[in-house]
Amino acid sequence: MIITSAKPLEEILALLKDEDDIFVIGCNVCAAKLKTGGEPEVLEICRRLEGSGKRVVGWALPTAACSVRSFESLAQKNEKINEAHCILVMGCGSGVSTVASVTEVPVYGSNNTLSLGGSSEGKLLSGQCIMCGNCTISEFGGLCPKSQCPKGLLNGPCGGAVDGMCEVNRENDCVWNLIYERLKKIKRLDLLYSIHAPRSMVLNNFISNILI
């Protein structure tokens, strides 16, 4: 799940200050789960934009804002998009980019995109993966130190943890402690002794896209 947080209305209004005839596109996957772009939030932002004197021409809720076949597929959901002078996407940065790639009018994002995370037992798990493009998570018992350790250390913890809590944020567990507990549970403490080479950034999706 892509973790997003909603920008304050004032910031959205500032983005749209020279715009009118707005079409709102939500996202029925991650943003809906996080209440930053599901139907209730889309309806709420339409209401608040109108309350602030903006004209909203319509809205649509594709299954995923980051997976849109074409402009026509959006128009099939709501033909009012043809009247839009701009589009507000209530998804992650990927959703905004995808919508921008199939439309001709200015596109704005209503959210801040924070990380690739998840949720479990009612708890939001942020920053679970940095999408390095060269996954070795199984060597760490299923917890990625590259993403969950602020320093991304692959060969063991830094010297900064106090009582098992992270040097950078004392409210977070040091992920290396969690990795230790996990490897102990699955009887693979031997993995702690492997010396890991640094990641090659060439394999990172972002860079490889540019290289291709």
Binding site: K151, N155, G156, G159, V162, V168, Y193, A197, P198
Partner: protein, 292 residues
Amino acid sequence: MLFNFREKLNSSKFLVTAEVSPPKGTRFSVPLEDAHQLKGIADALNVTDNQCSIMHMSSLAFSKLLLDDGHEPIMQLTCRDRNRIGLQSDLLGAYALGIRNICLMTGDFPSCGDHPGSKPVYDLDSVQLLQLVRKLESGIDFAGNMLDGGTSFCTGAVSGIDPEKILQLIKLEKKAKCGADFIQTQAVYDVGMFEEFMEAISHLEVPVIAGLIPLKSLGMAEYMNKNISGINVPEEIMFRMKEASNPIEEGLSIASETIKELMKLSRGIHVMPIGSHKNTPRLLSMAGISGK
């Protein structure tokens, strides 16, 4: 200089290194004067690399200034601020300028210091940085390209001393495997704990230089116990600091007693006073160390 630091490391001499900080600015006379007090006493001066993520003059530049002033520097190098290109290029530069000793560490996170918004790099970790240094010695760079002249550093790494912290011990083992020439530890107050640590790593054939921070007050001891990982000031020392009429003198007495104990357990000590080295020569003479 009769012996360099690497030769001393291989000798039987009990070693003394001391931490010095580059200036915050371009004027360097004050820290050079501070270092001057250690001439003839310290075997090498360990130059911090933007310690606590507080921006200072580079450890490379200040190491060179110390070298020109007749000291033997150990240049600290952290993983925080440079990617593998920057690290290698600084290592080549340091070697070309005559710096022969380095000490590698992860580095505090930027949010601890005075530029909290800066980008944390950590392209390599401290184990990988050791591997990189070893590679430069073979005359090729980390990517496998030929160098026109390699390096040959006496290379240290750091460690905590809590024998219960298995992950720290495993990491230390990796550092030893990657060819660390010496290990410099977190400050020691609990000699019993240090003894257990030395037993736990007795299978690693790497000289250990024990860290030492003379206490200045009870508050300082309390702060370190609460906030600094791996530091354990025992109750007995806390009591002595509490009762002391002159806490600075008491802190020096405690430190000198600790040094005497450490002489039986470690290859040397690394003195890291908070502030200047004003009291370091006296501390060492209290411990019976009179210099070269």
